[in-house]
């Protein structure tokens, strides 16, 4: 396709054309910027935490400041970064393109949800400057009822961010149902779309429970309604049930779209049709549904009834199976492919390695008796960082590199990308693998100071955090550089089959010159032989 000068980036000019845009691609870019800022902020908090933990004694922060730092790290990373990361930025950009649609079903709602996100983020920022919250991102009662820090503003921030998430979910579900191009049947959808669909289901069904929980917490602090306050006859365990009814499925809001990206990457860079399309598609839905039934595994040591513990542990193992199936299917897809090792594919490999470790340690944590020992130790911290960062963040970065030419019409420096990847992988494992050993040896999480014997591992972990930081700084450098100096990207630099590559890079405002008509599956590389 010949290069057309006009595209969605330069179609209209001026700040107003961005802040009032209804174009899903521009909204996706605006999300991307916000999310990058949130990641930087959360990463900064993480570096500060690790620095303090290099010594068992107080060196930089007081206990209270430390508690505020880990709370802000958690809250920013969860609510501002990782939950919206892939769906709201890449998802928003890609979904209509992959469906062959002109836009999402409700463009105005889409823009609204971005404003809601920014509004919620402002509350969170306000909470940081006005007596930063120190409850942990989980806001457990009754501590969060008594804490003298600015709990209400952070809670309201998360509450508002929840609505942004719900609105995005509603929009995506309707878009996938109603906006598909002619011929694009359900089983011709790219697996990224299936993943986004499963994610949206969770966003719509789980987030309202978080909303009501946080609202009740605000009412608890302002009026003392007593539902969660044991001093007034309420029950803090009910809060935990409510909180994890959202927050466990939320883990899958984070990981499902990452898995979608994985399927796109492995097919494109192996020039192979995906192995087990239906298995992967249905496993996304299965994960979405079962993910609602496992929240109680966060309460195993809270004195949970044996019956509940049994049910939750069993269901936890059931949700592990579809995840494992996906991993095997991706490896099988590589078999006899034509494998091109480019930056996005490196992140695919990184994901496979780290996510598997996260998954296996998840099996350990799901075992009722083992969880008693490992619960609330650094083992858990390491486990969820392997899943969330090793899984979701790796996939997010992989996806970002993959679609970067499509989004901005520019290529980045492949060599620097390789070096940054090496730093990220090395640093990540240095930071978090040590924490498995720390945790199973008995080091509890959220500790400001610790026993001297834990120091060597903690110090090693801290040094790892610097390596990791170098990787990310390098990445930021070459990505920004590519916007200014990168060479122009062709419309389909990787030779992919899905619809977003059938239009120019960057796409025009309404995506396609003519509505595409789909006649084959998303990864039908077998067709290339005939053409």
């Amino acid at each position: 396709m010949s290069q057309v000068a006009l595209n969605y980036l330069n179609a209209t000019k001026g700040l107003k054309s961005w802040f009032c845009t209804l174009d899903h691609k521009r909204i996706g870019i605006m999300y991307l910027i916000c999310i990058a800022v949130a990641f930087g902020l959360g990463g900064f908090f993480a570096l500060a935490l690790r620095l303090e933990l290099i010594s068992p004694k107080e060196i930089l922060f007081t206990a209270k400041q430390y508690n505020q730092l880990f709370t802000l790290h958690g809250a920013v990373m969860v609510f501002l970064f990782i939950v919206p990361s892939i769906p709201a930025s890449l998802g928003n950009f890609l979904l209509p393109l992959q469906l062959g649609a002109k836009d999402v079903a409700f463009p105005r709602l889409n823009l609204t949800s971005w404003y809601v996100y920014v509004f919620g983020a402002l509350f969170c920022v306000y909470s940081m400057v006005a007596g930063a919250v120190d409850t942990g991102w989980t806001f457990y009662t009754p501590y969060s009822i008594d804490s003298a820090t600015s709990v209400i503003s952070m809670t309201l921030g998360a509450f508002i961010l929840g609505f942004s998430s719900i609105l995005t979910g509603v929009n995506f579900i309707v878009t996938i149902h109603k906006m598909r191009a002619p011929g694009l049947t359900w089983f011709r959808l790219p697996l990224m779309v299936w993943a986004l669909y499963a994610t949206s289901i969770i966003q719509v069904l789980a987030t309202p429970v978080l909303a009501i929980t946080l609202l009740l917490l605000v009412l608890e602090r302002t009026m003392g309604i007593g539902i969660f306050n044991p001093a007034l006859g309420g029950d803090p365990v009910l809060f935990q049930h409510f909180f994890w009814f959202y927050s466990h499925p939320a883990v899958y809001i984070m990981i499902l779209p990452a898995m979608g990206i994985m399927s796109e990457l492995v097919t494109t860079f192996c020039r192979k049709d995906i192995f087990g399309y239906k298995m992967i598609a249905f496993s996304s839905l299965a994960i979405a549904i079962i993910s609602f039934l496992v929240w109680g595994h966060h309460l195993f040591v809270s004195g949970q009834s044996d019956y509940a513990a049994m049910i939750f542990s069993l269901l936890t193992y059931l949700v592990a199976i579809p995840s494992a199936v996906k991993v095997f299917n991706w490896v099988a897809t590589m078999y006899r492919g034509s494998i091109q090792i480019k930056a996005p594919f490196l992140y695919f490999l990184g994901f496979m390695f780290l996510f598997c470790i996260g998954g296996f340690t998840g099996v350990m944590l799901g075992a009722l008796s083992l969880d008693v020992h490992l619960h609330d130790t650094y083992f858990v911290v390491a486990h969820f960082h392997y899943v969330m960062m090793g899984g979701t963040v790796m996939a997010f970065i992989g996806g970002l590199h993959y679609w970067w030419p499509k989004m901005f019409g520019r290529m980045y420096n492949e060599t620097l990308a390789l070096i940054a990847w090496a730093f990220v992988m090395l640093g990540f494992n240095m930071v978090f693998f040590t924490q498995f050993i720390l945790g199973s040896k008995g080091m509890p999480r959220r500790y400001y100071s610790y026993l001297d014997q834990f120091q060597p591992l903690h110090a090693f972990s801290t040094v790892g955090s610097w390596v990791l930081a170098v990787g990310f700084i390098l990445m930021a450098f070459y990505l920004i550089d590519s916007l200014l100096n990168g060479k122009k990207a062709p419309s389909n630099p990787w030779g992919a089959m899905t619809l977003e590559w059938q239009t120019q890079s960057p796409p025009i405002t309404e995506n396609f010159l003519e509505t595409p008509v789909v006649t084959h599956g998303p990864y039908d590389f077998g067709m290339e032989k005939q053409s």
Binding site: Y143, G303, I321, V372, P444, S449
Partner: protein, 322 residues
């Protein structure tokens, strides 16, 4: 950190992943861990090796090189990697659940110690009336049940060497039991985040030999605190419980205390429950919540007129009336 609480604890000994195990749970739990660990290695290493092999064998050598085979499914392979993992995780589930049940059912002959979590220290009340802060002293080879509650926020009682942990909640009693089979000092951590002093909320379990324990008891008993059940007996008359509750089985205005503990009661308005510590506590501070069928709701609340130790004393006393 308060170094006085740092012990010559056995956290640094043991295997690569675990501190030295003490008590009845460690061996089963550690084996489960290493079972999953080696199971994971057996799956993970070949998976990575196969991936690396594919990377090398099938790397793209020419720009336009196509895949040599398009394979979209294989029922055999898909079953091969769905069924065995499912069986494996089910084994892990059953193993873990059995261990969990073992931990949740304390032996009948265990010694009961009340634990109170407060910001930011642990208080231990022994049956003989002694109280200790930051130090739990127990005899070796004796099952001990901890009956725990919190005065403020949620805490969690964690002894890595014993592999035990349980949340300590402000509106409930939770239980935890262990049996130390080795003399020594063992580190206790609070593992539920509870505020500024969270990481300093430490304690030590001192496991003494039988003779040392006797000595410790003798020394501690020189104080004038009554044992819990003796205090309870005193309160029974001094707080006028005797007006309505008999201890010999006769029915007065309220149910008798004889053989009360552990019995099953039906309530006015439906529902039944077994009389346990939680029920007695509730009946003292909120008598109207569950009124035993056949009696009227006339008892006043004792909230505020009895402190926690006194309520515990009454519970201990009722337990002796079997």
């Amino acid at each position: 950190m308060d170094t006085s609480l740092q012990t010559e604890s056995l956290l640094h000994t043991g295997t690569t992943f675990f501190p030295e195990g003490v008590g009845p749970f460690a061996s089963s739990m550690d084996s489960l861990f290493y079972f999953i660990f080696w199971g994971s290695v057996i799956i993970f290493v070949p998976l990575i090796l196969v991936s690396i092999y594919f990377l090398i064998a099938y790397r793209r050598k020419r720009e336009n090189q196509l895949a040599t085979k398009q394979m979209t499914h294989s029922t055999f392979l898909e079953l091969a990697w769905t069924v065995p993992p499912t069986i494996l995780v089910l084994i892990v589930f059953v193993w873990g659940f059995k261990g969990f049940l073992h931990m949740s059912v304390a032996p009948l002959n265990s010694q009961e110690i009340h634990v109170s979590g407060k910001k930011w220290f642990w208080e231990f009340s022994y049956p003989n009336g002694n109280k200790g802060i930051g130090e739990l002293v127990v005899p070796v080879d004796t099952p001990v049940t901890l009956l725990m509650t919190s005065e403020d926020v949620i805490h969690s009682f964690f002894v890595p060497n014993f592999r035990i942990k349980r949340d300590v909640l402000p509106n409930r009693y939770t239980k935890l039991w262990f049996e130390a089979d080795k003399v020594g000092n063992y580190q206790v951590f609070c593992t539920e985040y509870c505020g500024d002093g969270h990481s300093a909320m430490l304690a030590v379990v001192r496991v003494l030999s039988a003779e040392d324990y006797e000595d410790w008891l003798a020394e501690a008993n020189s104080g004038d605190d009554l044992p819990l059940d003796k205090l309870g007996e005193k309160l029974y008359t001094s707080k006028a419980c005797a007006t309505c509750h008999s201890t010999d089985g006769t029915s007065r205005v309220g149910p008798t205390w004889k053989s009360l503990f552990g019995s099953k009661k039906a309530f006015v308005g439906g529902g039944t429950a077994t009389v346990d510590e939680n029920y007695i506590h509730e009946s003292i501070v909120n008598p109207g919540a569950k009124v035993v069928a056949g009696f009227d709701n006339v008892m006043p609340t004792y909230a505020g007129s009895l402190n926690d130790r006194e309520i515990s004393a009454l519970i201990a006393y009722i337990k002796t009336l079997q």
